[in-house]
């Protein structure tokens, strides 16, 4: 639709500025190269992988490595572009001309202004005489995601060469890692919602293939199916939501019946040119997709099961990148959600509520898992809930920042758990782990670093991003802190409660895995360098990543180093809504830190003191107190059981909904088919035969044949012969039907 966009200097004031430009540095305009590289390596591995000396992994690493370098250059180019680009901005004539500029001073740049996203498209297909495009939209969040995805993907590739060495489908594994990387990178640079949808489904199918990597065993393929089908349920929302937005935008653009363009959609939503109802409905539909993809309550149940896949996959796809696609989509379509859910208005909206509930649900379920990866999976659900909640309360940058830091420390934790499991050949913390700190010092240290970062203790990365989210809820207001887009006190409470829970379950997890005595079999030993080096890189990032967005006014740090992440990632352009930023407060930071510390203290006292002492007393390594709260108090036992049963959601989905559709509902439909519809058909057929017989014997044979017999005996005999050759009474039917048709036609013409 580029041809319909009118290029005009925004100073001219004609039309709605979209906040995008067709200009910019070469790399920013040609960022499609980055997804193309892993796509090429996918094809290469698929066709030649098995013939290569390293089974195709070298191809994957090389291409993802180049993509990572390109992503870094793109980031540099973007940092340059962000403040210094003064090219022309794309504007768009709109039907509703009530556009009011509400993007602050930075928006009036005369000849364009900084922070214009770089937009580049080509024609994909045409329909209804309109050309639909495919292309790239490069701005802060896209660049950030490019770097995160390529970096984690590269590390996971390297890690996998050791972890899945000798696997029965080594080459396939790397082929799908490449395809996943390509799809995910395509998703983050998507210029329109249709392209986003395509990439969205492609990452889903890669997830399906990799969860079911060991499909010989039924539980694995069950998990893969569950993931895909749950996501399909959410994707219904995406299909409908994208459709609604397409036509809603079209109604605001003269001479155009629809548009998939993300920039146009957001800009029009921000300008108030779109119907609020349409935006609300579309937002709700898109939220369904977010809930399935990003594991939000109550469509999160597939994510823990997805741990059936190889651990590197869990780290890359089900922790660091794919599952944040939903979060990214909200961030991408933020104009729509901001207007649709009235996020600026501090009323509790669907997004904030879903996110808040998810944080609590995920964190509570992480407590009762004995599989280390399931702990991390529920933790991921919980942290994704944080991000969605942050977006729901208007703390956009906080959500993106948390996405960024979470990618590193959660990938670190997952890969660490894989390293431990690699050594003991099991993921069961209670049965097969314990005491690993001695044998696996590197895994232990990096895992603890990741845990502290996740728990949110300063100065590690998780603290900074979590604190920003809490600030963003705006519910504090003590000691100089101010809210952003209103007071979401409820969300603040849920956020702090989750922080406490997170700290506690990670303490439990660290104890069960690395402390006490080894409960498994054999002699675990530290993993090789291809596993340990990526762990240390991620642990390092888990320490330092938080400093990228030090709050404004942070002492001892020059202003130019404060809020760098926010400055370069948060768009300040026509396609992005005006959001208010909260001011961080020391009191909130200190309070949340104390809560976290207290939670760690309680868990520490339970595991490191009491359980440890009980273990010493009975001489074997225990995982719980023999006489703990669940045995003492019925209420605690019931609560525990509720958690073990995962709030019974799996029963509802698998047994009631899926089972009901597959079983009774499908059977009823099919029996209707066989008995009712086909019954009618067969009865009609039989009756026609009867009628035919009647006509033939009573009329044809007696009356007509009586006349014809004398003259036409020979031909009638020939007809009989012919009839025998044919396998049915087809000719007879044909004759009757066409005779009837002719009569009917006659009747029809006479009457009508």
């Amino acid at each position: 639709m580029t041809d319909l966009l009118t290029l005009a200097a925004s100073a001219a004031g004609s039309g709605l500025p979209l906040g995008i430009t067709e200009g910019g540095a070469w790399l920013l305009r040609n960022v499609w190269l980055i997804p193309l590289l892993p796509a090429l390596s996918f094809v290469g591995i698929l066709f030649f992988g098995k013939r290569l000396p390293k089974g195709g992994s070298e191809l994957g690493i090389a291409f993802v490595g180049i993509a990572f370098v390109l992503a870094l250059f793109t980031a540099v180019a973007w940092i340059d572009h962000r403040d210094d680009f003064h090219g022309e901005e794309v504007t768009r004539t709109v039907a509703v001309a009530e556009h009011h500029d509400e993007h602050g001073d930075e928006h009036h740049g005369g000849h364009g202004h900084p922070s214009l996203a770089v937009h580049n498209t080509v024609t994909w297909f045409q329909s209804n005489g309109v050309e639909f495009t495919v292309g790239t939209l490069v701005d802060g969040p896209a660049v950030m995601m490019l770097v995160v995805v390529t970096l984690v993907s590269l590390l996971v590739h390297v890690y996998s060469t050791d972890y899945v060495a000798g696997d029965r489908r080594y080459t396939h594994f790397f082929a799908f890692l490449s395809l996943f990387s390509a799809s995910m990178l395509l998703l983050v640079v998507s210029e329109n919602t249709l392209q986003l949808l395509v990439a969205w489904e492609l990452v889903g199918v890669c997830s399906f293939a990799l969860i079911g990597h060991w499909w010989e065993e039924k539980p694995n393929s069950d998990a893969a199916l569950k993931a895909f089908l749950t996501n399909r349920v959410g994707d219904m929302g995406l299909l409908v939501g994208v459709t609604i937005l397409f036509f809603t935008v079209g109604s605001a653009l003269p001479g155009q019946f629809g548009s998939f363009s993300i920039a146009e959609t957001n800009a029009l939503a921000n300008a108030g040119a779109l119907s609020h109802t349409a935006l609300l409905v579309a937002s709700c539909c898109l939220m369904a997709a977010v809930m399935s993809k990003s594991g939000q309550f109550f469509l999160h149940t597939w994510l823990p099961d997805a741990m059936a896949g190889p651990t590197p996959v869990s780290a890359l796809i089900h922790a660091a990148t794919m599952v944040v696609a939903g979060v990214f989509m909200i961030a991408r379509m933020y104009g729509v959600f901001f207007e649709g859910f009235s996020i600026g208005g501090s009323s509790i909206n669907m997004m904030a509520l879903v996110g808040g509930l998810t944080t609590l649900v995920g964190a509570s379920l992480a407590f009762v898992q004995s599989d280390i990866k399931k702990v991390l999976a529920y933790s991921t659900i919980s942290q994704l809930g944080y991000m969605v909640m942050a977006l729901g309360v208007g703390a956009w940058t906080a959500a993106m920042f948390h996405l960024f830091t979470h990618a590193f420390f959660k990938a670190c934790l997952f890969l660490g758990s894989g390293s431990a499991a690699h050594a003991v050949h099991s993921f069961d913390m209670k049965a097969d782990m314990g005491g690993l700190r001695k044998e696996m010092p590197h895994t232990f240290r990096t895992f603890v670093i990741g845990s502290i970062a996740l728990a949110g203790l300063p100065p590690l990365a998780g603290f900074w991003s979590k604190d920003e989210i809490l600030v963003g809820t705006g519910g504090w207001g003590l000691f100089g802190g101010t809210g952003g887009n209103g007071a979401y006190t409820f969300m603040l409470v849920m956020g702090i409660a989750t922080a406490a829970l997170t700290a506690a379950y990670m303490t439990r997890c660290v104890y069960l895995t690395f402390f006490g005595e080894f409960r498994g079999h054999g002699h675990p030993h530290e993993s090789g360098p291809r596993i340990v080096v990526p762990l240390w890189i991620l642990a390092g990032l888990a320490i330092v990543a938080g400093f990228l967005n030090l709050p404004k006014g942070f002492p001892l740090v020059p202003d130019s180093l404060q809020e760098r992440f926010g400055h370069f990632v948060e768009p300040v352009a026509g396609y992005f809504p005006t959001i208010a930023h909260g001011t961080p407060s020391w009191s909130l930071a200190i309070f949340s830190t104390l809560v976290v510390a207290a939670a760690i203290g309680v868990a520490y006292r339970y595991y490191f003191v009491k359980v440890e002492a009980a273990s010493k007393a009975c001489g074997k390594s225990l995982t719980e107190l023999p006489n703990g709260p669940t045995t003492k108090y019925p209420l605690a036992r019931r609560g525990h059981n509720l958690l073990v049963q995962k709030y019974y959601l799996d029963h509802l989905y698998t047994d009631v909904i899926a089972g009901g559709t597959k079983g009774p509902l499908a059977d009823v439909a099919y029996s209707v088919n066989q008995n009712v519809i086909d019954g009618v058909v067969n009865a009609a057929g039989e009756n026609a035969v009867k009628a035919g017989n009647l006509v033939y014997h009573r009329f044809d044979q007696l009356v007509v044949d009586g006349v014809v017999n004398t003259s036409g005996r020979a031909s009638s005999g020939a007809g009989e012969e012919l009839r025998k050759i044919q396998t049915g009474k087809v000719q007879g039917y044909a004759a009757i039907l066409f005779a009837a048709a002719t009569v009917l036609a006659g009747v029809f013409i006479v009457i009508v």
């Binding site: 994909w124 329909s127 395509v198 459709t243 057929g685 066409f738 009837a740 029809f748």
Partner: protein
């Protein structure tokens, strides 16, 4: 060359298979290799001619009928031999000429019992003539003849080479279709007499519907007859029950041709004949067609979930997929009908492939009972992956062809054409979206049970279960390549169809039929849909010349 193609291209493409048939009839039955060769060469020749037609086709004017020939055929009933090709028929023509040679290659060493390659291949070639003829015919009588020509070879194919229940299935197929055809014929005749048109040429009829002021009621009835005739062929719920039986019993190649091309004759009839000639009736009928379409989507999917036989499951999935196609058509929008044509091509390729796979699996396992299958990926990994890809394509995965038929159809239902009730279609849209979930359900369950896991004990050491053979690869590779290519670059199809669809709808349907009086409708009417074919009264050589000029 150009002129030769203009004048004779379509005719050659249509009737070359019959020439092959004539040659084969002269050769004794036991010279099997010679029969195979002649059939293959014939079908490749047809494909070659079609490629020439594609090259000669003016892609900038897909809305115009090209390579037009229009001669008086049967003077007594004013029927013309009128053929032509535009953007709506070109993709389907190409699909046909692609599928037929692939089927012949696939059968090369695998003729179903009772073998007899001569008869089998002759039937395939007759089918090809019928199918091509249907897609290029521009005259109702000619269309009807070709439409019916298809029926007999397929009937014999099922009845002679089919499975155990073949007699019931073939008869059911025949009678159902014939019943539809009869009503269709009634409609065609009524249309001709009521409009008082000078010929059966589509454009002529379309002009005269308006010019003669055929009453609204009559239009509705005529459309209803066509709805039944075409709807049975599609097949639309509740006229679909012949399909699972026919597919289950048909030999592999029969199923492939049935799914890939024959079902499209019905949907093609809607977009080529029913809607352009009777647009007002189409608007009236649209909600009902849409309703049956979405019922078909859900109902077909549920039917799939209840199946225990793989081939029957795939057959039922056709009901659901054709539901999406019909939903696209029922919206009466450019977008929807583009989606429908895309859906036809995609369904032809994808479901055709699935039937190929089912046939190959049947040959290896001697059963398609899903509970007995398993571990295809272990025993025949390449075949298993192809199966996985086709299942993904069939459930509408973006990046593969199926998506471009499904999503645009859903999209178009949000905003149907003028006069079509919006709220109703938005409801349909949501229901259709639900269908995508169910589609994923039955296809993945099938994939899981047939391809994942380990082989069942009875087949674990079966030496007959081997990976895909050379003939299979030759037959499959082009279809797989197209599924991927169209998926990545859908413009391959949309570019061709868009102009034609736009033109055929634009004149009639952009006018809100419910707001107009009949006089206004007349004034704005459909006089220009086929502006080339209908510009003057004569349908003789003038047109051929006009097109020669366009082509040159």
């Amino acid at each position: 060359m150009e002129n030769l193609l203009d004048g004779w291209g379509l005719t050659v493409a249509t009737f070359s298979p019959l020439v092959g048939v004539a040659v084969m009839l002269l050769i004794p039955k036991d010279q099997e290799e010679r029969h195979k060769l002649i059939a293959l060469v014939t079908s490749l020749w047809v494909a070659f001619v079609s490629v020439l037609l594609l090259i000669g086709f003016d892609l900038d004017h897909t809305d115009r009928l090209q390579f037009v020939v229009d001669k008086v055929w049967i003077d007594v009933i004013s029927s013309h031999y009128a053929v032509g090709l535009d953007g709506m028929s070109l993709p389907l023509l190409l699909l046909t000429v692609l599928v037929v040679p692939l089927c012949i290659v696939y059968s090369w060493n695998h003729f179903p019992e009772p073998r007899n390659p001569k008869a089998f291949l002759i039937l395939i070639l007759i089918l090809e003539t019928g199918m091509i003829g249907t897609f290029v015919a521009q005259d109702l009588v000619l269309f009807f003849v070709f439409f019916e020509v298809v029926l007999l070879p397929m009937f014999f194919m099922i009845a002679v080479w089919g499975g155990p229940n073949r007699r019931y299935a073939s008869l059911k197929f025949f009678l159902f279709t014939l019943f539809g055809s009869a009503l269709m014929l009634v409609s065609f005749l009524a249309l001709f007499f009521l409009t008082g048109a000078e010929s059966f040429v589509f454009a002529d009829l379309a002009d005269n519907v308006v010019a003669h002021g055929v009453s609204r009621t009559a239009q509705l009835w005529i459309f209803g007859g066509m709805l039944l005739g075409f709807g049975i062929k599609v097949p639309m719920f509740p006229f679909h029950t012949w399909l699972p039986d026919a597919h289950t019993e048909a030999p592999t190649v029969g199923s492939v041709i049935l799914a890939a091309v024959l079902l499209k004759l019905g949907t093609y009839g809607f977009i080529r004949i029913a809607i352009p000639i009777l647009p007002e009736a189409a608007v009236e009928w649209a909600p009902w067609i849409g309703l049956l379409a979405v019922i078909g989507i859900i109902y077909g999917a549920l039917g799939c979930l209840a199946q225990t036989d793989m081939k029957r499951l795939i057959a039922f999935s056709s009901v659901a997929h054709m539901g999406f196609v019909m939903l696209g058509i029922a919206t009466l929008t450019d977008f929807g009908i583009n989606a429908a044509i895309m859906g036809m091509v995609a369904h032809g390729l994808i479901t055709g492939m699935l039937f190929f796979l089912a046939g190959s699996m049947k040959e290896r396992y001697h059963t398609l009972e899903i509970s007995r299958l398993g571990g295809l990926l272990v025993q025949a990994p390449r075949m298993g992956w192809v199966f996985g890809l086709c299942a993904m394509a069939s459930l509408g995965l973006p990046g593969l062809a199926g998506f471009w038929g499904e999503f645009p159809a859903i999209l178009s239902a949000y905003s149907p054409g003028n006069g079509v009730p919006v709220e109703t279609f938005r409801t349909f849209m949501v229901v259709a979206a639900l269908g995508t979930v169910l589609a994923a359900g039955y296809l993945l369950w099938l994939l899981q049970r047939a391809a994942f896991g380990t082989p069942k004990e009875e087949f674990a050491d079966d030496p007959h279960i081997t990976d895909a053979t050379r003939e299979e690869w030759i037959a499959w590779a082009p279809m797989i390549a197209l599924i991927v290519a169209i998926g990545i670059y859908p413009n391959l199809v949309f570019r061709v169809t868009d102009g034609a669809v736009d033109a055929s709808l634009h004149e009639c349907l952009q006018v809100n039929a419910s707001e107009l009086t009949s006089e206004q409708a007349e004034a704005l009417g459909c006089a220009d849909i086929y502006d080339v074919a209908g510009t003057d009264d004569g349908h003789g050589d003038g047109h051929a010349d006009e097109h020669a000029a366009v082509g040159g």
